[in-house]
C-alpha cells in the first residue's frame, strides 16, 4: 500500500512537469500581456516596460521557465532586483501580476479552503442523494419511480447552475428570506491559531483555514450553493449508479445469490451494490478534483471568493503565474483523486491489486 502510494507520487512528478511545461508554453502563446489595458486605463509604454522588466517578462522564455521551475538563484545568478523566487519545485508559485503584492501561494491559501469546503459538502450531498436514488431507480426498473427518478436526473444534468442558482436565490433568499443571498461565512475552527498569524500580519496557513467552525451562519450561507452544486453532481452520480446496477443485477452470480435463499435486500446490498459502485467510483475521482478546486459558475452566482474565478479570470488577465499555479494545483488534485480511486478499487474488487 505504502509502496503503491510512493510509486504513484514518483510517477506523478514527470506528469506534473509536463503539465507545467505545456501550460507555460500555451499561456505565453496567447497574444497580449498582463499589462495591456484597454482604453483610458492603458498604461504608458515606459511604465509597461518597467513592469515587464520587474517581472523579467523581457528575458528569454527558457530563462523565465527555468527560474519559474527551479528558482532565481540558479537561473538568474546575481539578480537582486526584487524578491527572488525559489521556484515551483520548492513550492513557490511566484508573484501575481494582477494582485499587487500578493503571491500565488497567498491567493491559493485564501481561496482554496473556501472552494474546498463548498466542494466537499456538495460532494457529500451529491453522493448522499445520487447513490440511493440510482439504486432505487434500478431496483424499480421501468416503473413510475424509475421514470420520475430518471426525469429528475436528466433535469439535474441539463438545467445548468446558471439557471438553478439564481432561481434558488430568488425563491429561498429573496422571497422566503430563509437564507442569506450570497457570500461565504467560514471562520477557522482553530481561531486562536489564526489570530496569531493575523496579529503578526502574516498569511494564515491553508490547513487552518480549511477546517471551518460549524456555526449556524456558516451553514446558512452554505445551504443554497451547496444545494445547487450538490444536486447537479447527484444527477450524474444517480445516472451512473442506476446504469451500472442494472447491469450487475443481470449477472449470473446475482442469480446464484438468490438461489441461496437470500432476502432480496441482502442480494442487492451484499452482492450487487459493491460491484456496481466500481464505475461510479471512476467518475467520482475527477469529479472530486474538479469540484474541490472550485467551480466558476456557482462561485460567481453566489459571490463566493473561492478559487474557481481565479482559474478563469487569470487567463483573461494574462496573470501567468496564477494560470500556472491553479492549473498545477488542479493537476495535483487529479493525481491524488485518481490515487484514491485506485485504492478504492482495490477495496471494492479483490482482483485489483495495488502493485
Amino acid at each position: 500500500m505504502l509502496q503503491f502510494i510512493v510509486r504513484r507520487i514518483l510517477w506523478a512528478i514527470p506528469v506534473l512537469l509536463a503539465v507545467t511545461f505545456f501550460t507555460f508554453a500555451l499561456v505565453r502563446a496567447i497574444p497580449g500581456g498582463p499589462f495591456d489595458f484597454a482604453g483610458d486605463r492603458s498604461l504608458p509604454p515606459s511604465v509597461v516596460a518597467n513592469l515587464e522588466a520587474k517581472y523579467h517578462l523581457s528575458d528569454p522564455l527558457w530563462q523565465q521557465f527555468c527560474s519559474y521551475l527551479i528558482g532565481d538563484t540558479v537561473c538568474r545568478p546575481g539578480d537582486d532586483s526584487g524578491r527572488a523566487s525559489k521556484g515551483v519545485l520548492l513550492g513557490d508559485l511566484g508573484p501575481s501580476f494582477r494582485y499587487r503584492g500578493r503571491t500565488v501561494n497567498d491567493i491559493i491559501a485564501t481561496a482554496l479552503p473556501i472552494s474546498f469546503q463548498l466542494g466537499m459538502m456538495a460532494m457529500m450531498l451529491g453522493i448522499g442523494i445520487g447513490i440511493p436514488f440510482g439504486v432505487l431507480a434500478a431496483l424499480k426498473h421501468n416503473t413510475w419511480i424509475d421514470y420520475s427518478a430518471t426525469l429528475v436526473a436528466i433535469l439535474g444534468v441539463s438545467v445548468s447552475n446558471v439557471v438553478l442558482g439564481p432561481v434558488l436565490i430568488w425563491f429561498f433568499a429573496l422571497k422566503l428570506g430563509w437564507f442569506p443571498v450570497a457570500t461565504w461565512a467560514a471562520e477557522p475552527l482553530f481561531s486562536g491559531i489564526a489570530d496569531k498569524y493575523i496579529a503578526a500580519s502574516e498569511q494564515i496557513p491553508m490547513w487552518v483555514n480549511i477546517i471551518p467552525k460549524p456555526t449556524v451562519d456558516f451553514f446558512m450561507h452554505a445551504a443554497l450553493p451547496v444545494f445547487a452544486l450538490g444536486t447537479a453532481l447527484s444527477a450524474t452520480i444517480a445516472r451512473m449508479t442506476r446504469g451500472s446496477l442494472l447491469q450487475v443485477i443481470r449477472e449470473d452470480y446475482i442469480r446464484t445469490a438468490r438461489s441461496k435463499g437470500l432476502r432480496e435486500r441482502a442480494v442487492v446490498v451484499r452482492h450487487a451494490l459493491k460491484n456496481s459502485l466500481i464505475p461510479v467510483v471512476t467518475i467520482l475521482g475527477p469529479m472530486f478534483a474538479g469540484v474541490l478546486t472550485g467551480t466558476f459558475v456557482i462561485e460567481l452566482i453566489f459571490a463566493i471568493p473561492g478559487l474557481g474565478r481565479h482559474f478563469v479570470n487569470s487567463i483573461g488577465n494574462r496573470d501567468y503565474p496564477v494560470v500556472l499555479g491553479t492549473t498545477l494545483l488542479y493537476g495535483v488534485a487529479i493525481v491524488i483523486a485518481n490515487m484514491l480511486v485506485d485504492i478504492t478499487y482495490a477495496w471494492l474488487d479483490p482482483r485489483v491489486r495495488l502493485e
Binding site: N142, Y147, E251, D252, Y253, R255, T256, A257, R258, S259, K260, G261, L262, R263, A266, H271, K274, N275, L348, D349, P350, R351
Partner: protein, 330 residues
Amino acid sequence: MTENENLIEVSDLKMYFPITKGVIFQKKVADVKAVDGVSFTIKKGETLGLVGESGCGKSTTGRAILQLYRPTAGSVKFKDVELTELKGEKLRHMRRNMQMIFQDPYASLNPRMTVGGIVGEPLEVHNIAKGREKRERVQELLRVVGLNPYFVNRYPHEFSGGQRQRIGVARSLALNPDFIVCDEPISALDVSIQAQIVNMLEDLQQEFGLTYLFIAHDLSMVRHISDRIAVMYLGKIVEITDHNTLYEDPKHPYTQALLSAVPIPDPVIEDQRQRIILAGDVPSPIDPPPGCNFSTRCPRVMDICKEVDPTWQDIGENGEEHWVACHLYE
C-alpha cells in the same frame, strides 16, 4: 404408507420471456417461448438427464423449476408442495432443499467474495451455522469436493475453471439439499477434468442420496450419469426414456439424429455409423412452427406434422416407460 416416489413433478411448464418495445411505456410485442409446455417427473435418488441443442430451453427449464424464474404457466411440485404458489419467506426456506450448479463457473461466482463467503453464506442465511462452526463446515465442504480446505480466504479469480466448478458444487451442497439441478456442470471445462467432476457428482449422489436433473447439450456426456434421459427441442420435450433404451431404441427422429452424431468407441461400428445431418436451422422460439416444432427439419416429416401438435404419449412395452411426442407412433 403410501409415499409419493416422485420428488419432482413438472406438468405443462411454460416459461415465456416478453419482448417489449417503447421508450416510456413498455408494450409487449411478442414472447420468447423458451419453455413451452414440458412435463416430466424425477424420482427420489434418480438422475434425469436433459439433453438438447444450445438455446432449446434447458437452463430455463432448470431455473423455472427452482423458481429462479417465475413460470408463465404450469405446475412444479417438490415433495407434493406446489412451488409456483410459494412466495417470500416460504420460498426462501424451500431453497434449502433445492439447489443449482450453474452453467458458467466464471460468471456465477461473485468476484468480490472469498470462497469462504460464497460457500458459507447459505449457512448463515438459513441460520444453520455461524462463525467458527461455519468455517469448519465450509472447510469440510471444500474437502468433500476435493479442494484444499485452506482455500477459504481466496477469491474466485485465483482458481481454474474446474476448481471454480467445484466451489459451485460445494456451495450447492452447503444446505444439504435433496435436489440439485446440474446445469451443464462440465461443458465449460477441459475434457480431462470433465470426468473428474462427473465422478465426483456421482459419488456425492451416493453419499448424500441426492436427486439430480443433469443438463447437457450432447448425448455422449449424459448416458453415463443418467438413469433416464429427456430430449428437448425448441422448448419442448420430445422423448423421455431409460438411458439404455434411448441409446438402443430411439424413437423420435430428433433423438435419432442426435445419436447419430455421437462417436462410437468401437472402430468397426464407428465406420458404419450413418450420420443424419439435419437440414436448416432451429426456428426462432419467438415464432415456433405450427404443428410439431421439429417438422421444419425432420427427415421423416409427414403432412400432419405441419398442422397438428403430436400428443405426448407412453409407447413403452413390457411395463417400461417410453414417452415420445411424434406422429409416427400415433
